[in-house]
């Protein structure tokens, strides 16, 4: 019986092998056949590039009609179809092309983003940002080099974006994305319930000490309110924010490395250091004092929600824009409550506006319509008709302009295209932008930060983690398992807990990672002249 089964198994395995080989061959031949137009096409595009360089005045060839595939993150607005139809009407005339606006939704967007880029899909334009790993994708060759294409296909856009921004988005010396030119700040700041602060005569939080005093005051006077909202991701809401402020780091360096903004080449190990221990003890004291809950790591409510609902009284950090939107939500629910904000920059004496990498659009490597895509993107940014329509919808249907302010018609449930419904962060054009009156508050903060602005020198760095990716993955787990509970104040003996964490981290290969990262970072500083 066993013998028979073995035979069946043999037969089966050989069949699988044959099938796999067949499939592999057919796949091979397919992949060889199918992209065969691709290489030839890409050579033709390269050809036209070369030609374009020689006689760039003539612009691009638009004789053949194409459909551009445009990919943005997030959810499609309800009235996207109407906007798309109007854009296509114009676009056919301007470039003999149409565009399909595709949205990834926020469900598994990161996975989808990767699939789109790595499986040779038909994508002509796709959003990029540092939080979508632009630097890594660009470094690994997922995007098309745009240096030669831009002056030919999108000369106006090429002019429109300042030269230093083009420089800033370069990865290994090449341009892979078209940056947004709108200047904003996404740096942190303390957020707290101003009405409660006034009521109990507490100090205004401008640094950690005053912030602590505020938390203590709330704990003492408002037994039903949790002083500080932290949430599941203690790494971001607690440690990142704390380090940005207290240790003025140059950027959110991974692997427990630290360098301060004022001395970026002095990169040191933060994990396991005296400073690290001090900071962890501070978080622990917050937890022990009951400033935040024992169960933050499993919290299911969002921090912003807890503020607007009155269950929490402060956040260690948020950016000006989001603070403003939380404030407005709260005002709508509880007109007599109030929020206030203190940007870290005002205490630290410097603030970094967003890096040009923060919002951009790239052309994937596989695109066969790169020229037309860039020409279209130029229209989106620089042509007022296109820009207004794709940012705000149809005037008098979706919005009106009153005293220079944007005014939505109807509300979120009746309006099919709210302000910036297409998530058009990347193609914002400061010259055409219109804002809601509530934006004045954000602008006031931005104006203050403008006075102390310094460039972001961290975001332009593209780490190459291939040499240590196994260690990196292992470390990720160690961090969650041993460091997060420490940060959340759940380990009684902090010193001992830190020791355990360092032990496990070193076992996972922390030193190897840190060494390699340091080297890359110093090299980047030297090459980029930030030294």
């Amino acid at each position: 019986m066993v013998g028979k089964q073995k035979k069946v198994l043999h037969l089966f395995i050989s069949l699988v092998l044959v099938l796999t080989l067949l499939a592999a061959c057919s796949n091979n031949s397919k992949t060889n056949n199918e992209p065969s137009p691709a290489p030839s096409k890409s050579t033709t595009t390269e050809g036209t590039n070369a030609e374009g360089n020689e006689s760039s005045i003539s612009g691009i060839d638009t004789s053949e009609r194409v459909e551009l595939q445009f990919y943005m993150l997030g959810n499609a607005p309800k009235d996207l179809d109407k906007v798309e139809a109007q854009v296509n009407e114009w676009l056919l005339e301007d470039l003999n092309a149409t565009v399909k606006f595709n949205y990834t939704t926020w469900t598994d967007w990161d996975q989808k983003y990767r699939l789109l880029l790595s499986t040779g899909q038909d994508v002509d334009l796709i959003f990029t940002a540092e939080w979508t790993q632009y630097q890594q994708y660009a470094k690994n060759g997922a995007f098309m080099r745009l240096d030669e294409l831009l002056p030919v296909a999108a000369p106006k856009l090429y002019e429109f974006v300042p030269q230093d921004m083009w420089e800033a988005v370069k990865i290994d010396g090449n341009i892979y994305t078209v940056p947004a030119t709108y200047k904003e700040y996404v740096t942190g700041g303390f957020v707290w319930r101003e009405d409660l602060r006034v009521k109990h005569n507490l100090p205004k939080p401008v640094d950690i000490e005053t912030f602590e005093a505020y938390l203590a005051g709330i704990k003492q006077n408002e037994p039903n309110i949790q002083p500080l909202a932290v949430g599941q991701d203690v790494g971001a809401t607690l440690e990142d924010a704390y380090l940005d402020f207290q240790r003025q780091r140059v950027g959110a360096m991974p692997y427990g490395l630290h360098a301060s903004y004022s001395d970026p080449s002095n990169i040191v190990g933060y994990w396991g250091s005296e400073e690290h221990l001090t900071d962890l003890k501070r978080y622990k004291s917050w937890a022990d004092n009951g400033y935040f809950s024992k169960n933050e790591l499993n919290e299911t409510d969002g921090n912003q929600d807890k503020l607007t609902n009155g269950t929490a009284a402060a956040m260690l950090s948020d950016n000006p824009t989001r603070y403003n939107s939380v404030l407005n939500q709260m005002k709508a629910l509880h007109p007599d409550w109030d929020l206030a904000y203190h940007p870290y920059g005002l205490t630290l004496g410097y603030a970094t506006p967003v890096h040009p990498i923060h919002n951009g659009f790239a052309v994937p490597k596989n695109s066969k319509k790169a020229e037309r895509a860039l020409a279209f993107y130029e229209l989106m940014v620089t042509d007022k008709r296109y820009n207004l329509l794709t940012q705000y919808g149809f005037e008098d249907v979706n919005y009106t302009v009153e005293d220079g302010y944007y005014k939505m018609i109807g509300d979120n449930t009746t309006n099919g295209f709210v302000r910036e419904a297409m998530n058009g962060w990347a193609w914002r054009n400061p010259e055409y932008m219109i804002f809601e009156p509530s934006y004045d508050g954000v602008e006031a903060i931005f104006n203050e930060l403008d006075k102390i602005q310094v460039p972001d020198i961290y975001t332009g760095f593209a780490e190459d983690y291939t040499p240590y990716q196994a260690e990196r993955a292992a470390l990720e787990q160690v961090e969650k398992q041993y460091l997060y509970p420490l940060m959340a104040g759940l380990v009684d003996d902090v010193e001992d807990g830190l020791k355990t964490f360092m032990e496990k981290a070193n076992q996972a290969g922390l030193e190897k990672i840190q060494e390699s990262y340091k080297q890359q970072w110093l090299q980047y500083l030297q090459e980029s002249g930030h030294n």
Binding site: Y103, L115, R322, R419
Partner: protein, 297 residues
């Protein structure tokens, strides 16, 4: 049929009632909690947690779920269509396969069973599958991408095989053969009617699979009009989770409705509705003796 119940039977029934009732309460309580929460204002949930009886009654959560009724109805439509078509095709293919694989005179039945089973053990992962669906089968952004991937599962085929095996005695097939019926006719005329409980079970599971599917919408569908119900609602939750999880540094601020705790609960109620209709319908076939009647008839 009235048979006098003996003592043992009484005891058995008593135990059965106790167990089933306890189980039902345990299953029902959390559900009541969900229904209650879906009728409570979000603020109150965040402040006071969940209660079995809503302390303040509001339909706000359902208003958000039904904010764009035509979108929701369309999503219902897509799911219903995909469920019906997928279940019909899947059942046809799986009953045929199950029937063939349990035939004793079909020499390679074990080999082919293994061929099918093997796919539960090994898979190529998401990337090649994504390429298969979009690049080779060209199902991207079509209903096919929602129907095709769940059409058959090895588990349901093997289950079908077993149901048919136990419901259809070999002698019945043999005698039909002697009568000159070919294999398909036997399957159609004799086997299918006998295997009704199995059909109902496998059909129910397949339908549920389609009904609960959101993953394939997430992967393959770009067109809002082709979203499945589960995905349409799940995506609202995910949007709020995303906004909670994205760091301040990303600077993402979205306008639009704020999904909420009570909304999640309302969603659970909305998607569960159909089972309350479907399951009792399926249950009709779970009656003892039905198979025997069919054989005799």
């Amino acid at each position: 049929m009235k048979i006098k119940e003996d003592g043992a039977t009484k005891w058995f029934r008593f135990i059965a009632y106790v167990v089933v009732l306890t189980g039902s309460v345990l299953c029902l309580l959390p559900f009541l909690l969900i229904i209650s929460a879906s009728l409570t204002s979000n603020e109150e949930i965040v402040r006071e947690g969940y209660n079995l009886i809503p302390s303040s009654f509001t339909l706000d959560a359902y208003k958000i779920v039904f904010m764009f009724p035509e979108d929701l109805l369309r999503a219902y439509g897509v799911t219903t269509f995909v469920t019906i078509v997928g279940t019909a095709i899947g059942l046809l293919l799986m009953t045929m396969a199950g029937y063939v694989l349990q035939r004793k005179d079909f020499k390679y039945r074990n080999f082919f069973s293994f061929f099918i089973y093997f796919t539960t053990l090994f898979g190529g992962g998401l990337v090649p599958y994504y390429m298969l669906i979009t690049n080779y089968l060209k199902f991207g952004n079509t209903m096919n991408a929602l129907i095709w991937p769940s059409l058959m599962t090895p588990f349901l085929i093997i289950l079908m095989r077993s149901f048919i095996h136990s419901a259809v005695p070999d002698e019945v097939v043999e005698s039909a053969k002697i009568d000159g019926a070919n294999d398909f006719v036997i399957y159609y005329r004799v086997v299918l009617p006998l295997a009704v409980p199995g059909l109902a079970t496998v059909g129910l599971f397949l339908a549920l699979h389609y009904w609960n599917d959101w993953f394939h919408s997430a992967l393959f569908i770009n067109d809002t009009a082709k979203y499945q119900l589960q995905f349409y609602l799940y995506n609202i939750i995910n949007t709020s989770n995303f906004l909670n999880s994205i760091g301040a540094g990303a600077g993402v601020v979205l306008s639009g409705p704020v999904p909420s705790e009570s909304m999640k609960m309302a969603m659970a109620v909305v998607v569960t509705g159909p089972i309350l209709l479907l399951y009792p319908f399926i249950q009709r076939y779970f009656v003892k003796g039905l198979t025997i009647g069919a054989v005799k008839g």
